[in-house]
């Protein structure tokens, strides 16, 4: 009993201490409001929580990945990029981190994100023995291709996209042709989306390439398949699989390369321990994020609208990111 009291006292003390510190330490700063739905949602949620709960004053700066990263790297502004897909800027980012200009506040602020091979939920419920992609590949007969029903259809990446080459390489690495599959080129994102949507709406089997967090994945509750083989190294991926079958004849079977997403901050933010602690805990479960994207699409909701919706509907999630005191302040402001 005594122990409990003490720990409660310590907890309360830290909470007060933190919030007091927060008000003192948190000043004005800029956050990047990236031009895709999940990033703008995250930026607006951060803005509300940090302003109401920590007394910061935040300005949102619109921008895309490369431009935002470039100005962060050169000028130190905006101070925070909530959802930075760092594969695209990995070399410069590593340099900036080594020099202590930029810092990662959290790696993977959204779970289950990235590219991979997805199936419709019905595919799994009808075939509970499908644990990995490898299991699915044994059953092309369950995914008949419209133009040649004796083959299984694997829906790849639209013509000309970078992922088209990677999918072609994996198609070869897994010897899918021999197993009775054809690689269908959906031609465009509209084609890919429609192919997936049709299968999901009719509850048909479907396997193909997609990525998350995205509204279609949330809307149709698509399931990301584990590849059943490990990632066979960056060497195999970068200098073989990503180049496509023309430049690389002998790809090794591999899981999809990990898409690294980080919340990147400048040194100014790094000096605010409670803000850093918040970013460090702020992890959105993938399905929740996809669900929010569906909400945004259905209601044509802007970032601020969606942030309010998230803070109201998903209190069980975000209240765990902050102290009880901060949570109460944010709730009061809603």
């Amino acid at each position: 009993m005594k122990k409990l009291l003490i720990s409660a006292a310590i907890l309360a003390g830290t909470a007060f201490g933190l919030s007091g510190q927060a008000n003192a330490a948190c000043g004005d700063f800029q956050m990047s409001d990236m031009n895709w739905p999940s990033a703008t949602l995250m930026a607006n949620v951060d803005k509300i929580i940090l302003e109401e709960g920590y007394g910061c004053n935040i300005e949102l700066i619109p921008g895309a990945t490369t431009a935002t990263f470039a100005t962060m790297n050169e000028k130190g502004q905006p101070h925070v990029a909530a959802e930075l897909w760092t594969n695209a800027v990995s070399v410069e980012l590593e340099k900036a981190m080594a020099e202590g200009r930029l810092h990662s506040a959290i790696r993977g602020p959204i779970t289950e994100l990235g590219e991979g091979w997805w199936v419709t939920p019905g595919t799994l419920s009808r075939n509970p023995e499908f644990k990995t992609v490898m299991d699915v590949l044994e059953r092309p007969d369950l995914f008949p291709d419209k133009e040649d029903p004796s083959k299984g259809a694997f829906i790849g990446c639209p013509a000309g996209w970078g992922c088209q080459l990677a999918n072609q390489s994996l198609f070869r690495a897994f010897e899918m042709e021999k197993k009775g599959w054809v690689l269908v080129d959906p031609g465009s994102q509209a084609g890919l989306d429609a192919s997936m949507a049709k299968a999901a709406q009719r509850d048909e089997n479907w396997i193909g390439y997609y990525w998350a967090p995205t509204a279609p994945v949330g809307k149709y509750e698509m399931k990301l398949m584990d590849f059943g083989v490990p990632f066979a190294g960056a060497e195999n991926w970068d200098s073989c699989i990503a180049l496509g079958p023309e430049k690389c004849g002998n790809p090794k079977p591999s899981a999809w390369t990990e898409s690294v997403v980080q919340t990147v901050v400048t040194s100014e933010i790094k000096a605010m321990p409670d803000v850093m602690e918040y970013f460090g805990k702020r992890i959105y479960p993938g399905p929740v994020m996809n669900g929010m994207l569906v909400y945004m699409e259905d209601n044509q909701a802007t970032g601020p609208d969606a942030a309010l919706e998230f803070l109201e509907k998903h209190q069980d999630i975000w209240t765990k990111w902050v102290s009880a005191d901060v949570a109460a302040k944010v709730k009061k402001s809603l």
């Binding site: 000309g160 088209q164 031609g187 084609g191 192919s195 949507a197």
Partner: protein
């Protein structure tokens, strides 16, 4: 009061956002239910067409290339009676093959020929019907306007939801866009037939069928062939769009080229499409002209 009036005139009195959302969700939901209940039946309805397209493509791909060249030369000569044109066509096909575009070209030819046949088979009777009745014309004309101007993916989305990606939706996309000139020009051609000629036919006691096939259609041929010509051209212009919904052919490399700024790849495949268009166009035009040789005065070299 005055402020309220200003508010009223300042913003258009639109549907509330909630109602608008519910309205859109209701339409989407209704379509989803329709697709769930009827989708398979509609797919089955188009299966013969798909079967024909696949067979034609497989046939073209399976045939040895010299045979194809002979057929191309033969068809060109039969159509145009011009050695120059036939040799030109064979040369273009050889170039296409030499630059590694043979298979894509065969797929495209399969799609375009079926699309053109379909457009003529549906478009010509429609045009004739329109020419016979002003009421039909006043109904079909706005439909044709919609077909030619509506952004393609607006109607393709529901088609894709019903039929999935692939050849049949590709064919539908091509035909929706390429058929209107066929209908319009058939209608125009028949309406332009001289009244005096028709009176003469009447005087000889021709019934309406005899008038149509013996007088009106032959005299409308220049316009009808202009229609076929336009249909072919527009069908070829749609090859890239068809590839955006998963149709194999010359459109796929063009898409790849556009996405990655591959100048040469885009140019080569684009020019292959142009080459096909010119061959189809010249042969059909010459054939049309030969059919009207009785009119005299036209060149037929």
């Amino acid at each position: 009061m005055g402020v309220k009036m200003l508010d009223f005139f300042g913003d258009f009195p639109d549907m509330s956002r909630r109602d608008l959302r519910d309205f859109k969700l209701a339409i989407d939901g209704a379509f989803r239910d329709f697709s769930r209940t009827n989708g398979e039946a509609i797919e089955a309805f188009f299966d013969p067409l798909l079967w024909f397209l696949i067979k034609l493509e497989k046939l073209l791909l399976a045939m040895p290339w010299p045979v194809i060249l002979v057929i191309v030369a033969g068809l060109c000569f039969l159509g145009s009676r011009s050695w120059k044109l036939s040799i030109g066509a064979v040369l273009s096909f050889m170039l296409i093959g030499y630059f590694g575009m043979w298979e894509d070209t065969m797929s495209t030819i399969a799609l375009i020929s079926v699309a053109t046949l379909l457009c003529v088979a549906i478009g010509m009777p429609l045009g004739i019907w329109m020419a016979k009745s002003d009421r039909v014309q006043s109904i079909i004309t706005p439909v044709l306007d919609v077909m030619q101007t509506i952004p393609i993916f607006v109607y393709l989305l529901p088609v894709l939801m019903l039929l999935g990606i692939g050849k049949v939706p590709g064919l539908i996309a091509v035909c929706v866009y390429a058929m209107p000139p066929m209908v319009r020009l058939t209608n125009l051609g028949i309406r332009l037939v001289d009244k005096d000629v028709l009176e003469a036919a009447n005087a000889f006691g021709a019934d309406s069928k005899q008038k149509l096939f013996g007088v009106q259609i032959p005299l409308a041929l220049p316009n009808i062939f202009a229609g076929i010509n336009q249909t072919i051209m527009m069908a070829l212009a749609m090859v890239v769009i068809a590839s955006m919904i998963g149709v194999r052919g010359l459109g796929i490399p063009v898409l790849q080229a556009i996405q990655n700024q591959y100048l040469a790849l885009g140019l080569m495949n684009g020019l292959a499409i142009v080459g096909l268009a010119i061959i189809f166009d010249r042969v059909s035009q010459r054939y049309g002209k030969r059919l009207q040789q009785h009119r005299g005065g036209h060149d037929h070299d």
